[in-house]
Structures are given as C-alpha cells and as structure tokens.
C-alpha cells in the first residue's frame, strides 16, 4: 500500500516539476563556447562566486554544500594554443582569453620555478654552486644545447608544464572560468624528440623523459580544444630573426632540422593522438591571421555532440556530481601528491646523477638563499610581519603567471 502512495506522490511531484520547467521558464540550450560580446546579449545566469582554491581546501564535506557543476558552464573549457616557435601563440592566446573572458596562462618556463615568492632569482647563486648543480634554463639551452644539463632542463620543463596544467584544471573546476594555455604538458614531448634527434639528449635520457611522462600524464584531463597555429620552418626562422631575442637569434639549437623534427612530431604524433579526444582547429598563421575568425570558429564548435561511447571529450564526461567533486578535490588540494609522481629515481642516467658532495653544497646554498629559510610569509628579515601569532601555511603551491624573460 505504501508503495502505491509513494509512487503516486513521486509522479505528481515529478510531473509538476517538469511542467514548471517547460511552461514557466524560457529554456534555451546553449552548448558552445561564447565570447564576451555574445554573452552580454544573453540573460545573466547567476553562478556561485568563484571558489578561492588557493586559500581554501575543497574536501568531501564541502561537496555536500558546494556543487562543482553549479559553476561549470559552456565556457568552462581548457583551450590550448599550440604551434612552432615565434608563431604568435602567446599574442593569439592573450587575445582569445580577453575575448572569451578566460584565464590566460603564459607558457610554462623555468622562471616560474627559479624565482621564489620573494622575487629572489636562484640563478644568481650559480657562482657559488658546483658545475653539476648550476641552473639551466631555456637561455642556456639555446646557447649551449650540447651541454649535459639539457636533459635536466627538458625534464624540469616537463615538470613545470605538468604543474601548470594541474593548476589549470583546478582553476576550471573550482571557478568555472575557462583557461587558455600557451602550449601544454601534452605537447612537451615534441621538444624532447627534437632534442633527441639532434643528439642534445641521449637515448637513456629520452627513455627517462618518457618514463616521467607515462607516470604522470594519465592523471590529467585532456584539453577540450587545441588550436594549432601552423607556420612553415623558413618562416619560423624569419620570425625568430624579427623577434630579436638575442639567445634565440644566435642559437646553435634552432636549426631547420631541429624545427622540422618538432613540426613532424607536432603534426604526426601530437595532433594525431590528441585529436582523438579534443576538438582541433588548425590555422595557417604564416601572416598572423585574425583572432576574430578563430573566435567565430570556436563559437561554432558543438562540444555536446558526442555520445557516451565516443572517445571524444571522454575525460570530461562525468554523470555524477560526486565524480566532479573528487576530480576537483584531486586537482585543487592534492597537487603535491600528483607532483610526487615525478619522484622517479634516475641513477642509470649519468647526466642526471650529481656527486654527494656537490649535492650537499647545492642544498646548503639554496637553503641559505633569501626567502628560502622559512615558509613564505614567515621571513621576518624580508618584511613579513605578524609571525609571532601566525600559524597558517600556504594552502596550495600554485605556479605564478610569469612570462619568460627575453634577455
């Protein structure tokens, strides 16, 4: 008897809810990414304010009160702008970000890692460090590509890109705002392959690189959309000349061979693999095309056209609220654990092994550097105040949005 009552009541309530939805509200289905101008003309949908994932954790208790999908909308997407060197990626990505009202993350570089929270550049300490432990960033690589530190540089690039991609995922899931990246962790292997082809890194080295990649990349969600800005190799060299960054112009690394291997791996491996999952837009950017057209093309892409069996956008196909919540928890709060997957022993690769004595000197010197003595916020000699009653530590180690230095 109670079953009758229950089912009957449920039916009445559900019918009413359906009627309410379709009769009283003016339902419009929006599926594509929309630009700022398009959004202005539309009805403003109220969303909860962005979750401050840098200060506040999101655990499974929060899940009951704060639904992740309530912030996600058609613009909560990850877009990656890819292309060879000096193709105008960052300019295009910046314009796209401002038009689509998304967050632009500059291309991951080692400046994000070498400069600490107090603005102290660790590279200044190179004179005190042994040769095996000195810093090695893109500038050093381009000037001296055959150095043994090239492999370490490439691995660090991978780690920084991984860290940045985790930040991007945390940002999308916590705030609902889309993210535009200038290159990403998925495409980093094209550099490793190009370096390997030119003999800058050894066979063992590239094996180690792929060990890092295979160990970590499966933890991430692939991007929704990849925009590839294609320019031919001679034009790349011309653009590098035109851009006039000294270390790029005089580089021994940026040869036509190196660039064509990069292009080959970009097109034949990267785009081929990722286009099984992500949407792909390829442009001939030889004469720097119009971003407006790109935006129009983006607005035309229907991201909801794939069904559950399709491989496309599989990483983003989650039915349950709980799945979204645990993903958000993973990227926003558990970044350290994900980064620890890079903790791979490298004893068999001679380029990566450092003498114990050198390592000791390195650790001592780095520990002494300004801003490294205590946690950020506790260095009184660098102007932090109120440490006597302070207890908090930084909740999350988010990479700074720092552009690569050009001189």
């Amino acid at each position: 008897m109670s079953t009758f009552v229950r089912l009957g009541l449920k039916r009445i309530i559900q019918n009413q809810a359906l009627n309410n939805n379709f009769n009283q509200k003016n339902v419009t289905f929006i599926r594509t990414i929309t630009s700022k101008t398009t959004r202005m003309s539309q009805e403003d949908v109220s969303k909860p304010s962005p979750w401050p994932y840098n200060e506040k954790g999101y655990n499974l208790f929060n899940y009951f009160f704060d639904k992740t999908t309530s912030r996600l909308d058609e613009n909560s997407k990850i877009i990656v702008v890819e292309g060879p060197l000096a193709a105008g990626k960052s300019k295009c990505a910046k314009q796209l970000a401002s038009e689509l009202d998304m967050l632009y993350l500059p291309e991951a570089n080692l400046d994000m890692m070498y400069i600490n929270n107090y603005g102290f550049d660790q590279r200044k300490l190179d004179s005190e460090l042994p040769e095996s432990c000195i810093s090695w960033d893109v500038m050093d690589f381009l000037r001296n590509p055959k150095h043994r530190h090239t492999l370490r540089f490439q691995l660090q690039q991978y780690v920084v890109k991984l860290s940045q991609y985790i930040d991007a995922l945390a940002h999308v899931l916590s705030t609902g705002q889309g993210v535009i990246l200038d290159r990403c962790v998925y495409s980093d292997f094209v550099f490793a392959e190009a370096m390997f082809s030119q003999g800058f890194i050894s066979k063992l080295g590239i094996k180690k690189y792929y060990e890092f990649r295979d160990n970590t990349i499966g933890e991430l969600l692939r991007p929704h959309l990849i925009i590839y800005l294609d320019i031919p190799v001679p034009k790349v060299l011309e653009n590098i000349k035109k851009r006039g960054i000294s270390y790029e112009q005089d580089s021994k690394a940026l040869t036509p061979q190196y660039l064509s291997v990069m292009e080959k791996h970009y097109k034949q491996n990267y785009l081929k693999e990722l286009s099984k999952h992500s949407e792909l837009l390829v442009y001939d950017w030889t004469d720097a095309g119009d971003v407006e057209i790109v935006i129009e093309d983006i607005e035309r892409i229907d991201f909801n056209k794939y069904d559950a069996q399709d491989t496309h956008l599989k990483d983003w196909d989650h039915k349950m609220e709980e799945d979204w919540a645990s993903l958000r928890h993973k990227y926003a709060d558990k970044k350290e654990i994900l980064m620890n997957y890079c903790n791979i022993p490298c004893f068999e690769v001679p380029e990566l092994v450092v003498d114990a004595e050198d390592a000791n000197t390195y650790h001592n010197v780095i520990e002494e550097a300004p801003g490294n003595k205590f946690l950020p916020g506790y260095n009184t000699h660098l102007g932090d105040t109120g440490t006597i009653f302070k207890m908090s530590s930084p909740h999350r180690n988010t990479l700074p949005l720092r552009e690569r230095r050009t001189s």
Partner: protein
Amino acid sequence: MASGPKIATTPLELLSGPAPEPPFLSKYWAPFACGVIGFSSVCLANYVTKRPVWSGLQKHVLLSAGLAGIGKVVDDYRNQYMADRDAVLRHYVELHPEDFPPFERKQYKDILESWIPIR
C-alpha cells in the same frame, strides 16, 4: 639518634597516619614534565615545517598548558587510586587484626651469617 620518619611497628600503622609531605619536585613533576613535552614538541613542529621556532606563540601556550593540565589530572587520578587502595587495605587489616601481628624487628646481625674466608 638519627631523626627521620617514624618507623611503623604494626601493619595498620604502616597504612594509616598522616603521609609525609612529598618533596617539591615530585609534587609538580607530572604537570611540569608534560608541559615541557608540549612546549618542545611545538618548537620541533615549527622547526620541521620551516617556520621560525617562536611563531604561533598561542600554540606554545595552549599545548603546554593543555598537556600540563592533563599531567596534573593523570597524577591526581593516580594519587587518588593509590589512596583508595590503601584505604581498602587498611579496612581489611582493621577487620582481621589477628592476621596482622606487629612487626618483629630484626637486626642485620640476626640475618647475616658470620663470614669465614675459605679458599
């Protein structure tokens, strides 16, 4: 004659009578030791997590005071437990005086045998 605490002559006497005043150190030992452990563990935790040792002073105060309080409570509980046990024994001795005759005092000369060096 050397002065000192009165020597009990009967088992009942041993279990009753005013207890001697405990020395200062053993009176406050438990709260003091727990307080020091609390304080130093906060300092250690600060050091390990790369904070200045004196940062978060409220943690030092709260944990030392809290642990000192716990030490005091545990010590009091133990004292009370032992007092109860003595009271039970005392009561039993009072009920069965025939089982607890006065102590028979012995001297070492009665216990130790004379030493005869033999190789």
